[in-house]
């Protein structure tokens, strides 16, 4: 839903790093995104194409690596990987739903590929 403002940040950060490295063009941007980050890659890519026009990131591919969701059980303390669509916040070991989210909300620019 807020892909536009997120991708504006991605563009700013990527161009900043690219310029610091004397790049003439950004070819690809690699993003790691938690499965619960609420960012839909398709929309993010579409918005990125719009906002990157006339920048060195124009035509850059935006690749997403989706990271799994891990929770920690507050009862048995085991860590389990859970399904994300729809999220089932349940411990895989003891079945308790008193779990704390450990990861799955990340949204990070992992790297850029430049020439």
């Amino acid at each position: 839903m807020h892909e536009l403002s997120i991708m504006e940040n991605v563009l700013d950060i990527s161009v900043d790093y690219a310029e610091k490295n004397n790049a003439s063009k950004i070819v690809q941007i690699n993003i790691t995104s938690g499965a619960l980050s609420n960012i839909i890659p398709k929309w993010a890519q579409l918005f990125f194409r719009m906002i990157s026009k006339d920048t060195i990131a124009e035509e850059a591919l935006v690749e997403f690596e989706i990271l799994p969701v891990f929770v920690k059980c507050r009862e048995c303390e085991n860590i389990s990987k859970i399904e994300s669509d729809p999220p089932s916040f349940v411990c895989k070991d003891c079945g308790s739903d008193a779990v704390t989210l450990l990861s799955g909300r990340e949204f990070q620019i992992k790297s850029i590929e430049i020439i």
Binding site: M1, S5, I112, I115
Partner: protein, 223 residues
Amino acid sequence: MMSQIRTIEIKKSVFEDNTIKADELRRELKNQKTFLLNLMSSPGSGKTSTVMGTIDRIRDRFKMGVIEADIDSVVDAEKVASKGVPVIQLQTGGLCHVDATMTKEGLGGLKTKELDVVILENVGNLVCPAEFDTGASKNVMILSVPEGDDKPLKYPLMFSIVDALIINKIDCASYFDFDTKAVKERVTKLNPDIAVFEISAKTGEGLDSWIDWLCEQVVIWNR
């Protein structure tokens, strides 16, 4: 000759800049003893009515200000201004949330240093505002009875990041299949430390315990 493609590692969270700005703002507010409440909910949950009821009950104790954030229009700001409380309208121009930079701009317009409590009425939306730290002292959300008791299942992030949940419009509970007990159970699993208040901003029912909690948080903030 083909140019060589180089890979530059960044490993930077896209939210990082906002989180840093939010932490800075929180420190500034703490130093000047201004409590900032970030109030979030769906459109039509009764945010403005709850803000108005809250103003009436604490304005004698605290100097108050309100930041109204909407995609467009000044309707809410006009309602609050009719109470004689300083209010500033942030029009987000299509943006679905308020971030720390926008909050700071809003506070600047309110002359914050003279205010004890500022309420930020965030954009009506249960998704995006949960992702962006505004720099608030406390985050509170409203869920109104007509929205349904399944919302914690559909928007787990929002329910897991707030310090308190206000269940509003309890005066019309009998018209809806709204299971308050189920909501509390679902929410407590996502967020064991959450405070839950059942109110009707319209009739005033239940507002006292919400106000007691809020005043306590302000006192703790100013210590």
